[in-house]
Amino acid sequence: MKADPKRVLTGNHFINGNHSATEGAIAAGCTFAAGYPITPSTEIVERIAARFPRVGGVFIQMEDEIASSICLQGGAWAGHKSMTVTSGPGFSLMMEHIGLAAITELPCVFINVQRTGPSTGLPTKVGQADMMQARWGSHGDYEVIALAPSSPQDCFDFTIDCFNLAEEYRTPVFLMSDEMVGHMTEKVVIPEADQIDLLERKFYTGPKPYLPYKPEANGIPLMSKAGMGHHYHITGLTHDDRGYPVLTKEVQETMMERLMGKINDNREKLMRVEEYMMEDADIVLVSYGISFRMAYKAMEMAREKGMKVGLLRMITCWPFPESKIREIAQKVNSMIMVELNYGQMYIEMDRFANAYCKTGLVGSPCGEVHEPEEIFAGIQEIAK
């Protein structure tokens, strides 16, 4: 299915990442959004509020992030592509409902324009402090999909990807943006609508009874929506194929194997990375989001000094590109994670790399992006 031309602002734009993400969502066919103001994400809902009535869509500003993150799920069961937008503290408040979306297998998108913490932290400044929260923040075991944009153009492109992935895997998907990417103004090229591929929601159309959690061959059940006459039951309790709560270890195991499996079994397909100057590299920087751009500059600095430094950019942060990290680790002397926190994705990288090579972290208390020199200093340190 192609995007609706009425929803696509085709052309060259000079806009910030937050506005670009909004246009991505509209182009992706998002017709339901609930949000609550929080810096530095707010430009997204501001633009949604202005644009939705003109392109088709319901936006409501809820009383808090707790409400937004479940209101959007009501909208999704009504049959809309739905999303919410937030940042650190708001993301913390949404955690319980991320678990609900995971267990009820609801396609929906959460955009997190990251700042830092703990608590209120630095509301107007950059951070990548919610990477682990995105993966582990809600209680219980579950898998997520998260993409990290590094530019306003990515914000447009990846938001569409998030909506498509949500439909494909019936799962909440995160766009893990950050303050710098969100507020950075750059050229964004929005293509013609017929250049934008969208995944349609797959509804059950067979005979009754509809079993809301009976998986298809790919492990993913078909959807229904309010009013189709299926009289389905949706619950956050452990449930069987009928959606009925069954509180036994056996049913929990069947449900969890499928919930985890539908993402885990597709790790390779979901993995999106970019490799720069890797052919002869013996030190590899690994980064994502805004930090990737700083790491790129540091790589150039190192190359100018004759050091064999490469760079791996993670576009998909979750599921973590573990096979790629393992593969690189076996070929190089050291790997350095560059990120705006005290080492969140570093833990993951270290887990898969440290059996084969040295690992290091160029982290940050957040608040500002790295100076390329800081990263270069990290390279020199590990090269000693």
């Binding site: 009535p53 409501i60 707790i66 009501g74 006459g229 299926h230 009289h231 009925y244």
Partner: protein, 367 residues
């Protein structure tokens, strides 16, 4: 299915059926039978409860009172002539999930019957009915009703339902949940949904306690009542739910008890026919965790208390401010508020239409 009001049933055409295995022996049917048709038996069902028997079949007028009040959907009138062969809630309840988890003498099943009857009487299509619950004993209602149903997160039934109602304005969205779920953890959402006049009906089953978790104090627990977390008696002022709903702007506000099944059913019917935010508070017995700890007897004793304690509100005399409930004190009941404000969907749609004009593309269709 619904008999016309005032039309007497011909006893020759009807008979009473009792599904003894569903019964939990609460005795509501025997007590509520106006003709003393029913009696408790000495026999046991397989769960060890004494089911009722039809002791004096000739006296039965088939008034449906037992059928309405039975929280187990275990007693019902049938008639070949009138093509009724099951409980009135049969289509509306997932009978394959019976028996439900609610205790003997709990009133939640009674509220479900009132809701079912209200939906039938209001002529609302089952395919257009959405029921949303939070967490807790009352939160299990969504799991038992045979419509599109959502058992969401604790306290969050209202914001979920707000999204559902905004996303599918052709659907009748009904929230059924408990007092703790809706007014403690979900309190903020309750206020805002009322303020916005969200297109929802909220049925708040108030049993004055947190039941599912073992009887902790609720924001509705009357002062001095014993809960497991107020072992020396509750000491803070409880919420007056009709007063809150009224002051926040709900279109419709009422309170009844599970003793008043006819009124409760009619009130729910009136509530679901409103476009905006309507609230029906249903006071309901929790014999296991509120009654027992406060030595108030079993569910039947609590129902009898509701009969004695209930005071019908009079428009000239009472406002919702008078609806506060003291411990074992009067319970003001009645239809408090019935007004017309534009609903959330209506006000959003009309405001956008007025400001944006031709450029407004209208309410979005779901996928």
């Amino acid at each position: 299915m619904a008999e016309k009001k005032g039309k007497k049933k011909d006893p020759k055409e009807w008979r009473l059926e009792i599904d003894a295995e569903r019964c939990k022996g609460c005795g509501f049917c025997v007590e509520f039978c106006p003709k003393e048709t029913l009696a408790m038996s000495d026999g046991f069902n397989s769960k060890g409860y004494h089911p009722p028997v039809v002791a004096a079949p000739d006296t039965c007028t088939y008034c449906d009172m037992c059928e309405m009040v039975c929280p187990e959907f275990a007693i019902y009138a049938t008639s070949e002539t009138h093509k009724k062969d099951a409980h009135l809630s049969d289509e509306y309840v997932r009978m394959d999930r019976m028996p439900h988890i609610w205790c003997p003498g709990c009133g939640i099943g009674t509220v479900v019957n009132c809701l079912t009857k209200a939906l039938i009487d209001a002529g609302i299509d089952r395919d257009k009915t959405q029921i949303v619950s939070g967490i807790g004993c009352s939160g299990r209602v969504a799991g038992y009703v045979n419509v599109d149903s959502y058992h969401t997160a604790h306290g969050r039934a209202i914001p979920f339902a707000t999204g559902l109602a905004l996303g599918a304005p052709d659907q009748k969205v009904i929230v059924v949940s408990g007092d703790g779920d809706l007014t403690a953890i979900g309190g903020n959402h309750f206020f805002h949904a009322a303020r916005r006049n969200a297109n929802l009906t909220v049925i708040c089953i108030n049993n004055f306690i947190y039941g599912m978790t073992g009887g902790q104090v609720a924001p509705t627990t009357p002062e001095t009542a014993i809960a497991i977390t107020t072992p020396y008696g509750a000491f803070d002022q409880p919420f007056n739910i009709p007063f809150i709903a009224d002051s926040c702007g709900a279109d419709y506000v009422s309170r009844w008890t599970t003793y008043h099944v006819r009124h409760l059913q009619n009130s729910i019917k009136a509530a679901i026919q409103k476009d905006g935010f309507s609230v029906v508070e249903a006071i309901s017995p929790c014999p296991t965790l509120y009654g027992r700890r406060n030595k108030l007897g079993d569910g039947l004793d609590m129902m009898k208390f509701y009969k004695e304690a209930a005071v019908r509100m009079k428009k000239a005399k009472h406002t919702t401010a008078d609806a506060a409930i003291g411990y074992q004190n009067q319970i003001l009941i009645g239809n408090f508020i019935d007004r017309e404000r534009p609903s959330l969907v209506k006000s959003m749609d009309e405001s956008l239409k007025a400001k944006i004009g031709d450029k407004y593309v209208g309410w979005p269709e779901p996928i």
